[in-house]
Symmetry: C2
Subunit: 342 residues, 2 copies
Amino acid sequence: MYSMTTSAVPAPRGPVTRKDVARFAGVSTAVVSYVVNGGPKKVAPATEAKVQDAIRVLGYRPNAAARALKLGSSETLGLIVPDISNPFFSLFSHAVEDAAAALGYALVLSNSDGNLAKERRNVRNLAARQVDGVLLASVLFEPDLEALETADIPSVLLNQERDAPGFNSIGVDLAAGARIAVEHLIGHGHTNIGLAMGTNVSGSTDGREVGWREALQAAGLPEGPISYSAFTRPGGYVAGQRLLASVNRPTAIFATSDMQGIGLLRAIHEAGLSVPGDIAVASFDGSADSEYSWPPLTTVEQPVAAMAEAAVAALVGASRGEKPRHRIFPTKLHIRQSCGCP
Amino acid sequence: MYSMTTSAVPAPRGPVTRKDVARFAGVSTAVVSYVVNGGPKKVAPATEAKVQDAIRVLGYRPNAAARALKLGSSETLGLIVPDISNPFFSLFSHAVEDAAAALGYALVLSNSDGNLAKERRNVRNLAARQVDGVLLASVLFEPDLEALETADIPSVLLNQERDAPGFNSIGVDLAAGARIAVEHLIGHGHTNIGLAMGTNVSGSTDGREVGWREALQAAGLPEGPISYSAFTRPGGYVAGQRLLASVNRPTAIFATSDMQGIGLLRAIHEAGLSVPGDIAVASFDGSADSEYSWPPLTTVEQPVAAMAEAAVAALVGASRGEKPRHRIFPTKLHIRQSCGCP
DNA sequence: ACCGGATGTTGACTCGAGTAGATACCGGTG
DNA sequence: CACCGGTATCTACTCGAGTCAACATCCGGT
């Protein structure tokens, strides 16, 4: 019976449109729309059934481009991250995708590869694609707002410590997070605590550096050595080598990302030293990698899922006219073994 | 001067369209299209300049939805992965995004979370969004092709060892990869080599298990213990615990993913054993994590960038009518220290 | 002076879906 | 029987950009 019905229909060349469905069901195209969208006008149950059948038989699938054109919304969000293969961002992306999907939005992903020009290009590209909002994890500590402004699209700045007036932004309290980590190291009796500080392309000071300094000052301790390098595994590795070679070698090091922490561990292991015996380590982010390094890293965890949800919510809120705001999330110290705890 | 020009223009409410540009430049809308797309008809240099100015002044940005509707192509590809926060897939995604962007395509990302129903839903969702092609890294070893068939969209199956007639597919030679890794372990003198085998929701045998077995047979060695568990860090961890507890404890273990390898390392470290001294390890994938574990993992590297490029190329090829094909890529053993090499 | 051809520009139609406004049809009342 | 109110349906316009056929315009050559 199914096949009889199908064989009676000339195989439509190309994609099936609303018109084909209408013709097949013997109704007008408007009715098909009403059925598909459940409105804005009611359809008689008998007619609805006919249309549903036609849709099923023909395999009709509404054209999203046409829909987006008419409605001015693509039900799509854009996400720009420096590098999706960085575990922190991939974790974040997953959370964002979940949050977006829950609201019926698809997620367009693009990498800026630590390149400001590429970041700008991506913003423009997403804008041209009529995404309903952009989530931007900028390469810069203080992002380039001009591209976003001219793009004139709801946006959220991610990983953003400072308030950017007129923009939605989401971040964690970096200084507070760094402080609890460093305080914890101090609690283990360390008095010479180094810092492996990640750098971005902009030159402004990061909250994690501030927090490290604050914790030391509050405890009346001198500042340990600092090494600036990329937020990556290799970055942490070279920072580790430099810190180990410094004249007053620290007995504990705070790394500003888990990736750096992992690179650091490697440098320490290679030097034949043990963690936490010779050198204690704490890091920042709370990604899965930190749990399975050796030894497992004590790390400052960011509430990634909550931040992703808030970011997506801010975006859909913005399209409803809500005004932008800056949200700061608290971090949580995740104690494992690299700090010296059993 | 800039501001003078701008102030002469009434701030356009809502987005600027081609019509606004045409009016401002004193030309027809067709010319604006010609300028924007560089064709299909030529435009006089003077006219072109006027239009370019108008575009700049008004901040015109062609509406991608309208373009997609007219051209029947959204210049968008869809990527479905089990979990973007798995480093292998995030690496892959990055490569896919690069390859897609190089050809002017945007990438819509979705996670299936190891859930077949969600995978199907994602396929349908992407199809409705008129993506020009779908890259599917299925949850299953042998993917569910029905959803893709009815979606009637160019597609590529990723991570696909076997040929699926009528479909593009891309994969590595899993058996060969596993064989070189196990052969390498044998070369270190090991005679009892265990296997930490990852599992998917389908039950069919994976090429990596085949390769492990083949290498042992070829060397005239008995099969070591096997532990089946997830392809994840925790999966490798429990596999490690089980293998260490087995009656004939292996002196070397081959893990079928880097994530498992890392979990395995943790289990071994926790047992107070050393790698590679007490137990040698080799794994599969070649993700960045394997380089920075302790000790660094000897791993079978997949040519991720090449595969991603081939996958994207197959997709755009398919939209040009090329026939589907199955491509198998070779792997390369990346020797580091976990196997016993210095 | 006239024509052929190149060159530049334009009006108008198209893609597929959303929906306002018009229309058709029904049963029920006065 | 005329009329009303409500419901179900249809017609036709719209969104913004691509592009083709038609229409100038101009130049060089007879």
